[in-house]
Symmetry: C2
């Protein structure tokens, strides 16, 4: 298994049948049981950090602890002969890796925002006047963030059919994927104290892929003037494995200049993560994009989110918003890939899709070169109940 | 002290100097220490429900436990001679009464929504086409919900000055109050299972006043297309005392019919709570309104919020949105009371206010007849840092 070697070491939470959940680290085709490694001595840490149903205690312990644990794991796994005992993946149930505090979803891809504007407001300038001045975002529902593999029931709700003046109720007929990169807060900030942009990444524990499922028909009807609500709140899927920020810092690349010039609190040398991303639908790859297409960086997002004095807590999740690039195959959601259904995508079995059908299975994948395979995000659509 | 007699018995969390937080009940000018009453016997419950930093364990215990505790407290406090030992209010620090899961803010007052539409979109129909078909709402930030008495630092952020095409950064110059009624979830719902409207109140533990502080200048610039974000996320103040739903069920009154006819999942006999509400600014009462002016009920809000399969958790908070009535004095925020600053309000000391100034102190109050004084929500504005 490539992408899960000693350069990566992503964290997660697993449970073996009849046991309590524990924190583990993915290595190759198995899991290192950190609770056991700490209890038995090779890992010189308090085992209570890892006998836990979430990463939150470990994340709250701080950067010095993260660094120590990562170095100890690198030592344990170093060398071609090192074979630490592992839990087999098929013996473990993978759980939601962290207890989510607040979940913020941004809208940080220029191509995505522009495409959505063209589709939903064809007669207007696609980009709102505020878009290039700040990372636009909103709060999502943290209580419905679920781990990869959780089935997704098609949501019901209100939609307005074209030409009607009253809504109908029923299962969403425009259920969509959103391919996003999420950032998990380890170190909280103080209430009233904005996080400076050059210190923002100090608060971030790690990254993971996010599928922000979206019911486009519900969204189009409900979103004025307070934004998306039920169109998103039924479920958000995240990977079971959180990649430590340290493992991808060398994937930072320069990004194009941001124009017009930003207000001081958002200014930095433009950068992005070079992470190749894919959407697979029923085993057909329907999109290939890259996190480097994001216009706003994670540091800008966090600086903006706290500039009004709002604090962040351990376990807070903020995600990029759909990641699209300039070319059609680089679009990170079906709304864009099919241009709101007008140009369906064709799958390997010859069938076509405008939006998701019951039974469809979506997998998001990401890679940082050979060394890093981001934890996948998998979800199958179940019929509305 | 009226409004805190045996008919009320609201719950909160308090701490005496040098001690751990405990759950208590407000009675007259003092607090009944439930942890002690349970440990010493008069209250036949597990003391661990009350040796807690939040109401969540007690709220999660369920309606049968709530009923038993309330009946035991009524027995303890019944009769003119009953004098259970109380903690003096000035010996206790009141804490945030519950750990907030998700915080949803609705927009359920017709007069408020119409006034805001007239102010922000003067050339358009004030009410969006969706407004009468569903309770419009959005997710707020749960990590910045604070208890009454917490100082509120003026938030900084971006605003667009009239005539400019680029924003400026600085302290908000249009800082506002929002007078709201909040509902706290006790009994969680299952993922994928909408809460039926006639069972919605079964999930609600209690109610409390909410001040959803709002920076109108930040809001006007940021809110398209994803809704309010930094304009609200710096702080939301809630009362220290949660009034049990049982204590105000007899305050339900009939409400006007809702037109056009609603989709089935939102249909019920229209009702509202008759609770008189006030905003006090530097000891001048600037608004007198009533929760009966709300168009959408708490049951409709909860049925809508879960119709897409989203679940609710113990500690989730959902609030009404600003409560305004048809008359000018019944408006629940300064934006409406001063018509976006055009008609300042005059305070008892002769000064005027368009929006909040540094040093201003706001108190929200509410009453259900003589028996019920909702816990106040107090906050003083501190200068931006």
């Amino acid at each position: 298994v490539t992408g899960f070697g000693p350069e990566h070491l992503p964290y997660g939470v697993f449970r073996r049948a009849g046991e309590e959940p524990r924190v583990g680290v993915r290595l190759g085709d198995g899991i290192l049981d950190l609770a056991e490694l700490a209890a038995d001595g090779p890992l010189d840490e308090d085992p209570l950090l890892f006998f836990q149903p979430s990463l939150n205690a470990f994340m709250a312990a701080g950067r010095e602890t993260w660094r120590r644990v990562r170095e100890a794991l690198l030592a344990l796994t170093a060398g071609p002969d090192a074979e630490p005992a592992k839990v087999a993946l098929d013996e473990a149930q993978l759980l939601l890796p962290f207890a989510v505090g607040d979940y913020v979803d941004f809208y940080s891809s220029l191509d995505h925002a522009r495409n959505v504007g063209r589709i939903f407001r064809p007669d207007a300038e696609p980009l709102q006047p505020n878009w290039r001045h700040m990372p636009i975002g909103y709060h999502g529902r943290s209580g419905t963030v679920v781990v990869s593999g959780t089935p997704i029931a098609r949501p019901c709700g209100q939609r307005l059919e074209p030409g009607d003046d009253a809504p109908v109720y029923g299962p969403s007929v425009r259920l969509d994927i959103e391919l996003e990169l999420g950032f998990v807060i380890g170190i909280p900030s103080e209430a009233g104290e904005p996080v400076a942009i050059d210190r923002a990444l100090d608060h971030v524990f790690g990254v993971l892929l996010v599928n922000d499922w979206s019911a486009r028909d519900l969204q189009a009807w409900e979103y004025r003037p307070l934004g998306p609500f039920l169109a998103k709140s039924f479920a958000t899927s995240v990977a079971a494995w959180v990649t430590p920020l340290d493992a991808i810092l060398d994937r930072r690349v320069e990004a194009p200049a941001q124009e017009p010039k930003l207000l001081q609190y958002l200014r930095e040398e433009p950068w992005a993560f070079d992470l190749a991303l894919e959407i697979e639908l029923n085993e057909t790859t329907i999109a290939r994009t890259n996190a480097r297409h994001l216009y706003w960086s994670a540091a800008q997002q966090l600086a903006h989110m706290t500039v009004n004095g709002a604090s962040v807590r351990t376990g807070d999740l903020f995600a990029s918003g759909t990641i699209s690039g300039p070319r059609p195959v680089q679009r990170g959601c079906l709304l864009e890939l099919t241009w709101n259904g007008a140009e369906p995508v064709t799958l390997a079995d010859g069938s076509t899709r405008s939006f998701l059908e019951d039974g469809d299975e979506v997998v998001l994948r990401g890679r940082g070169g050979d060394a890093i395979a981001l934890g996948e995000v998998r979800g199958r659509i179940e019929p509305a109940r």
